[in-house]
């Protein structure tokens, strides 16, 4: 079992507007991307963040060996319970997923 971060060259999170959080996973090779794409389902991602799997969108972007993951933020950016306004430190639970 390896952690997701061991497969990725870039693993980042960022707001896609204040209502959504988006994750870019970029891989060194197409094989790595395919390996992760086949194993990383919406349930795994939803479980890591405590969100509804139905809200999680996973889109491969083969042009740069990448996978994009997007779901609505649990707390809208800047709302009282939010703790990461830009959303750029939300990638850690994803990086720890074991595949």
């Amino acid at each position: 079992m390896k952690k997701l971060s061991q497969y990725t060259k870039i693993l980042r999170s960022k707001n896609a507007g204040p209502l959504y959080i988006t994750f870019d996973l970029i891989f060194e090779t197409g094989e790595d991307m395919e390996y992760v794409r086949e194993r990383l389902g919406r349930d795994l991602v939803a479980g890591a963040y405590g969100v509804d799997p139905a809200d999680v969108r996973i889109t491969p972007y083969a042009v740069v060996n990448a996978i994009k993951i997007t779901f609505p933020r649990k707390h809208v950016s800047g709302s009282l319970r939010d703790d990461d306004i830009y959303g750029c430190q939300q990638h850690v639970p994803l990086s720890q997923i074991e595949l």
Partner: protein, 438 residues
């Protein structure tokens, strides 16, 4: 061919003067810069302040403005003042006029204000023409009415109108980042798919280059069948990997860029390394939407905040921190109860770290007034400093305060109240367009 230059990723973030000179060493058709974002959160739209620094914005303008005017390259500035409301536009115009006066510069100025009233948003809601940007973000009549400010995010239409009128400098209220760079391309008859794709990559300045920098100059070359990107600084280069990867950035979907006019489809985009520092892109396609939309962004005042940052180093204290926080929360509820009933304030303990290192706790109090927030924060801070737990040895105090005073006024707290798409009959219907001479 059109040459379009992006000053940097955000006005006030700085750029290399040498790079800008290099960009202008050949003919430049248009200069653009994005001056705002919702990334820093709702406070700035609410307060009318900018998250960028006045001195830094002035520096960025005082080098670029004379160069653009001398080369007769219209200078397009999007989302003035950080959030793009009327107050933010006025703030930027103040700086612009100051630079013009100091350097004796004269030009025709086009301005687009894009504020809308709560009545406008409510009218859309009642007509069934307002939909939230995310299903989890509700559409709340009260929230719309209680908004301090609402702006619409304009697309290319008002900018094209001002280009048509021949203005030298165009300052926009809240605008799509892409509109700054796509508008001149579309105005001059270039393909909309290529225009919006190039704009999406350029709006971050040299973020799509290696080494990456939001704080530097990017050059875009628009042709009939492709566009090319090359950073102005000789030390940077565009690579297909970086440019294609930047297409992903801050987007919900890697293949679609949604715009007021329609959608830019990147499914068939092709990225080619033209030379060591230049990437060529083709194949991006624009599909015009039947129903045009404008995004509305609004914020409401939610209270006032006082915070107290503190550190716990003792692993025993850290292991008991949740019990301590419970004791403090109960104490504040009982003690403040008379003047501050439950529900009239919010108290959060923002923890990071753990027993293996040390823990930072930010006591975060939000009240209906600054005084209420002060009271809640002070009660929580003093109680937390001296809360006992079983086996406690460090009975002098639980918290290390890095500052005196320990409690800090953060001031007004705003939250997003409107983040919706409004269906419009005209993409100019929220724009107030003005032309004047400076």
């Amino acid at each position: 061919m059109l040459k379009i230059v992006a000053l940097n990723g955000l006005l006030g973030y700085g750029y290399s003067e040498e790079a800008l000179q290099i960009a202008f060493s050949e003919h430049v058709d248009y200069l653009g810069v994005d001056a705002g974002s919702t990334d820093p959160g709702p406070y700035y739209l609410g307060s009318g302040r900018s998250f960028t620094d006045r001195g830094a914005v002035k520096r960025d303008l005082s080098l670029a403005l004379p160069l653009a005017l001398r080369h007769r390259a219209p200078f397009i500035i999007g989302t003035a003042g950080g959030a793009g409301s009327r107050e933010h536009v006025e703030w930027l115009l103040g700086i612009l006029r100051e630079v013009a006066a100091e350097q004796d510069l004269h030009f025709s100025l086009g301005t687009v204000y894009s504020d809308v009233t709560a009545e406008y948003a409510l009218g859309k809601l009642e007509a069934g023409r307002l939909r939230p940007m995310s299903p989890s973000f509700g559409t709340d009549r009260e929230a719309i009415l209680g908004s301090s400010r609402i702006v619409s995010q304009i697309g290319i239409a008002p900018i094209i109108e001002l280009l048509r009128r021949g203005t030298d400098v165009i300052v926009c209220g809240r605008a799509c980042d892409t509109a700054i760079y796509a508008a001149p391309c579309v105005y001059r008859g270039y393909d909309m798919g290529l225009a919006f794709h190039m704009a999406k990559i350029m709006e971050c300045g040299a973020m799509c280059s290696e080494p990456l920098a939001a704080a530097d100059v990017m050059q875009g070359y628009m042709y009939r069948d492709r566009f090319e990107l090359r950073p102005a600084s000789p030390s940077r280069r565009c690579t297909t990997a970086r440019v294609a990867a930047h297409t992903l950035y801050e987007q919900t979907d890697p293949y679609m860029i949604y715009e007021p006019d329609g959608v830019c489809d990147l499914s068939n985009s092709v990225f080619v390394q033209k030379d060591a520092r230049t990437v060529s892109v083709s194949g991006s396609v624009f599909r015009e939407a039947e129903q045009k939309t404008l995004k509305l962004e609004g914020v409401k005042l939610s209270g006032y905040r006082t915070v107290c940052p503190a550190v716990i180093n003792d692993p025993d204290t850290i292991r008991n921190v949740d019990a301590i926080i419970q004791t403090v929360t109960d104490f504040v509820r009982k003690t403040a109860g008379g003047s501050l009933p439950e529900g009239s304030y919010e108290l959060f303990f923002r923890k990071s770290g753990g027993p293996e290192s040390s823990m930072c706790v930010i006591i975060d109090a939000v009240g209906k007034t600054q005084a209420a927030a002060d009271t809640v924060c002070a009660l929580a801070r003093s109680r937390m400093l001296h809360t006992d737990y079983p086996g406690r040895k460090s009975t002098a105090g639980n918290l290390a305060f890095p500052f005196s005073p320990s409690d800090i006024h953060v001031g007004e707290v705003y939250e997003f109240s409107v983040f919706h798409l409004a269906e419009v009959d005209s993409l100019l219907e929220t724009s107030e367009i003005c032309v004047s001479e400076v």
